[in-house]
Symmetry: C2
Subunit: 346 residues, 2 copies
Amino acid sequence: MAEVRVNKKVVLKDFITAFPRESDMEVVTTDTIQLKVPEGSTAVLLKNLYLSCDPYMRWRMSKHDEPIYFPDFVPGSAITGVGVGKVLDSSHPDFKVGDYVWGMTGWEEYSLITSTEGFFKIRYPDLPLSYYTGLLGIAGYTAYAGFHEICSPKKGEYVFVSAASGAVGQLVGQFAKLMGCHVVGSAGSDEKVNLLKNKFGFDGAFNYKEEPDLNAALKRLFPDGIDISFENVGGQMLDAVLLNMRTHGRIAVCGMISQYHNLDKPEGVHNLFYLITKSIRMEGFMVSNFFHKYHQFEEITAQLIKDGKITYLEDAAEGLENAPAALVGLFAGRNVGKQLVVVSHE
Amino acid sequence: MAEVRVNKKVVLKDFITAFPRESDMEVVTTDTIQLKVPEGSTAVLLKNLYLSCDPYMRWRMSKHDEPIYFPDFVPGSAITGVGVGKVLDSSHPDFKVGDYVWGMTGWEEYSLITSTEGFFKIRYPDLPLSYYTGLLGIAGYTAYAGFHEICSPKKGEYVFVSAASGAVGQLVGQFAKLMGCHVVGSAGSDEKVNLLKNKFGFDGAFNYKEEPDLNAALKRLFPDGIDISFENVGGQMLDAVLLNMRTHGRIAVCGMISQYHNLDKPEGVHNLFYLITKSIRMEGFMVSNFFHKYHQFEEITAQLIKDGKITYLEDAAEGLENAPAALVGLFAGRNVGKQLVVVSHE
């Protein structure tokens, strides 16, 4: 008989329409799980170690008639998200007991993974495993692929990053600096602005909440205009960016966190005419478009980490009990650096 | 002594803020011109034959503090625009007396061109010269370069063209058909829809004024979605397009004629989030980006015309007296096909 354990989990109580609250979720300790994969399957049984809190998860908390982005969560079941786990049992040829992996897992202590599509075996388990929730996982690869594949950067170009202290933004800025670009970021507090300038090596930064006129703020920080904008925010910030782009500029559209609380009636963007007058390319992407080249990125970035060329800041919540607050905090901008949840350190 | 002639011209009386009216312009017959270029200059003296009426001219009729697009017109002076002329005198080495040329000229009988930048010598004067106001000029090259350089088309793809019976749209549709694409266009009257389907060879077309729900119209005509959208309109049509794009779709942003009457407060576009979820590239352009390759296009298209592979429809107003009505009619959608003004047939 396989060992049976209580499997603590975080569930979404019901679909939401407003700004997420902690009380929209609950921690349930009544379920159990058998620590063995079913006979004849190609499943993997994971012990979850680290879970990632990501902006796109707001989308999944609401009900959608059309599956245009990620699937909606299932109320009453464990929330799912990207996480790092250790393989406790496996009947899949690519994953062995003791391997560390990352991919789409559950917000619970143990997950039975029946489809390993989008799962990656961790090749650098000597680096902090939590990095695979961000720097070496979705956020890092989003920053890397978005910047290098979508933005076509050149040395000396002017780069703007919105939500720049977030998991993706802090890395876009650093990849841009490594490329020899001039980088300015926006963030939502003076503490974050300070981090951008003094920890992540941005050339400039501003607190958008203290700028009555975003256009004027960008004009001040980019007197010669913006060549590349890495868009994480949308709405009014994007309108101000469009006003300040240079001819043949590129806008990588990675996220629109300012709109996620109300995607049924998103704010209008008014300055798209500048796409024409300045011959701007604006391109959206999903990091999964680039998964086939992930291990290349992993190798490059692992080396940058070992060489001390990347600074990375995590905001770790301890325990599944604190996961709802961590996720809500992300939408409120309370995190400083990559928000993650520690389920277990080993 | 050089011959002096009366030089009839169309002037903008004053900057406008509302929808253009004929009375915003007037035809003036009090100026004279010497039919000779100044000594020591590199100027060219043109007899204007055909003038082009283009959507971007609406922009130039209003006052702008920042020169982000084309220069504003000068009230009291002749309107300027693209036209075809015959060289009456020249001290420029590239242009000889008797040459036919096209470029930015005046809405007047004779123009002294002191800067020939952006002027092209017409290499196929055996074709109808008026074609160089459109099919072989700005509109045709805009369609060709926009479609081939920006849209990265592949055989069999689904292509949507807005303002499809206009000078650019009718040609985008035909270039797309020549490429083996499935092409659907929108236009503003049943007559135009009929033209698209029965004259220009579009696979489908709809009258946007009779569609209460643009999203539903596109869903009906593109049950499998849109790969390429050639955007001439902006606003609500662009929002509906975004809803109906396929993954890895491309949107060439050529114009936003629905917004030109009120560019101070353009309509918001609300569905940009789909840029991310569908990995869409949206790219604005100006045809002048591609001027260095113009004669290549001219050669290809002249051959298509000679082979009877392009259908082209012109809406010609006779005489400068009818130029104001022709221009206003363009913004009201009264033209059927390329709107131009005949100053003189030879």
